[in-house]
């Protein structure tokens, strides 16, 4: 862990960890993660903060066996993209048997430490 922060990314992780995840939405309904000042899809700068829905659905996933050094002790682990309706997030799936993870699984998002260096990581766990 370092003393240097990454601005709104860190603020987003803190909010997500506290169960107060959020995202930004442009006037055309494109969901974005902070920091964003403009929508890359339509250029809109009038972004509204919205609450991240409590659960989302896995849209794709992979079990990573050859990790980057920062996930060396975590491998093999599952990474997934989850659609929360309005915005999508990428994170590590925990609490589901790795071979049983499927597209369509309902999960919630939180923040946990990775096993390699203790850095915070977006984590998905089964909903309910």
């Amino acid at each position: 862990m370092t003393d240097v922060t990454n601005g709104e990314y860190d603020a987003f992780l803190e909010a997500l960890a506290a169960g107060e995840g959020y995202y930004r939405s442009c006037e055309n309904g494109h969901g974005l993660l902070p920091p964003r000042r403009a929508c890359p899809h339509c250029g809109d700068r009038n972004l509204t903060e919205r609450d991240l829905p409590s659960a989302g659905e896995i849209v794709t996933h992979t079990t990573v066996s050859v990790p980057t050094p920062q996930f060396e002790d975590d491998a093999p682990y599952v990474t997934a993209v989850v659609d929360f309706g309005g915005v999508r997030l990428t994170g590590v799936v925990r609490g589901i048997d790795q071979t049983a993870v499927e597209i369509g699984d309902r999960v919630t998002a939180t923040v946990e430490s990775n096993e390699t260096d203790g850095e915070r990581t977006i984590v998905f766990r089964p909903a309910e």
């Binding site: 990314y9 990573v64 066996s65």
Partner: protein
């Protein structure tokens, strides 16, 4: 608009060369290209040089002038970085320089030295083509990102890991005749399916190797070529460059690559051709699924159709549309910053009959090269044609 003649090509053998410096590898490729073109270094007006992680792997910034020096000149130069599309973009910008009338002779190319970083270092370096905050810190690796796209593709259109294995087998087979290839090793579908998993559904044989190497081409105007009696029978008649969001989760579809589509539309429009005019292609198969996404993005197949192309034999050497006759990134190797220029060089030599696999496309007059950065947040497409 000035026509862009391709006068010469050069490349190092792609492979594991951890003890060779970047400047030495680029000199090898660049001087070979100048020699092939019959152009003295003193006539070069500009250098467009692609490189991805040279600041990490060699601790060397400001590589443009260093690489110009390696060719025996101190002309204006720049290092272009667009991850795995770095030298595709170098070629694209070099084409612009000729067309604008600013330059008569340019060298475009690229170099990457990666095996000296070790597997962990190279994996980290390659992952930096993805969004550091929202992807890499969420466990995404380079193979992992394409694995996410592969599974999304299977979910949307169908297809199996076995379909992908046929792509690996085809490209390995093509590389057997290419002495510049990193991997000259015949594999079977069973070998590919049984190899160790790296990021499900991918095994080792779905991934290109980590390679070192360099490639370069020489571009000139028709006037310069005529005046100096150069053999330049192939021209780059179309160039396109497309973009997309960095992170996969910000895209509307995980199984389509609009950056390739946009680059292709521009390149075809430029050249005045249709996808049906193309008879040979080199596409960016960093992972097997990437060849599928490229062929669909290029409009050579409808969405959902390219997954079975290698299995059905259509993209094999004896098929209707041979793809990656060089061996592709998969077997020729992927020295990241050199790949885009090497693809253009492969198409040029396939069209002029000097490539070891040129026999497969005897009558071809139009070829296309597609180069992609990261998970195709950037892409370039070039159309090459034999000039009468």
């Amino acid at each position: 608009m000035t026509q862009v003649q391709l006068a010469g090509t050069g490349m190092t053998t792609f492979g594991s060369h951890p003890d060779r410096t970047g400047r030495d590898m680029f000199a090898d490729a660049g001087l070979a290209a100048l020699e092939d073109a019959g152009v003295p270094a003193g006539d070069v007006d500009e250098l467009f040089y692609g490189n991805f992680v040279g600041t990490l792997s060699e601790g060397q910034g400001h590589q443009g002038p260093l690489m110009a020096e390696a060719l025996g000149t101190t002309v204006p130069s720049r290092r272009i970085e667009s991850a795995c599309a770095s030298s595709g973009l170098a070629v694209h910008d070099a084409v612009r320089a000729i067309r604008s009338g600013e330059s008569d002779v340019v060298v475009a190319g690229g170099m990457e030295r990666m095996t000296n970083m070790g597997t962990a270092g190279a994996t980290k370096g390659l992952a930096s083509a993805a969004d550091d905050l929202y992807e890499v810190r969420s466990g995404v690796t380079f193979p992992g990102a394409y694995a996410l796209m592969a599974r999304a593709y299977f979910d949307e259109y169908g297809g199996t890991h076995e379909d992908l294995a046929h792509i690996a087998v085809k490209n390995h087979d093509n590389a057997l005749a290419n002495d510049h290839a990193h991997l000259q090793q015949e594999i079977t579908v069973a070998d590919a399916l049984d190899a160790p998993e790296i990021a499900s559904p991918f095994t080792l044989y779905d991934a290109c190797p980590i390679s070192d190497g360099a490639a370069a081409i020489v571009l000139t105007t028709p006037e310069y070529a005529a005046e100096h009696d150069l053999e330049a029978d192939v021209a780059i008649t179309g160039a396109g460059h497309g973009g997309d969001t960095m992170a996969l989760h910000d895209r509307q579809s995980l199984s389509k690559t609009p950056a390739t589509r946009d680059a292709a539309v521009d390149a075809y429009d430029d050249a005045g051709i249709e996808p049906s005019d193309i008879s040979v292609a080199e596409v960016h198969d960093c992972f097997t699924i990437a060849e599928v996404l490229a062929l669909e993005g290029l409009g050579l197949y409808s969405h959902g159709e390219a997954i079975g192309a290698a299995r059905r034999g259509e993209t094999r050497r004896d098929g209707e549309l041979p793809v990656n006759l060089s061996g592709g990134l998969k077997a020729k190797g992927h020295p990241v910053g050199a790949t885009g220029a090497a693809q253009v060089a492969a198409i040029a030599t396939l069209l002029d009959g000097t490539h070891p696999r040129a026999d497969a496309v005897d009558d071809a007059t139009v070829g296309v090269a597609q180069n992609a950065g990261g998970t195709v947040a950037s892409a370039t497409v070039h159309v090459l044609e034999v000039m009468e």
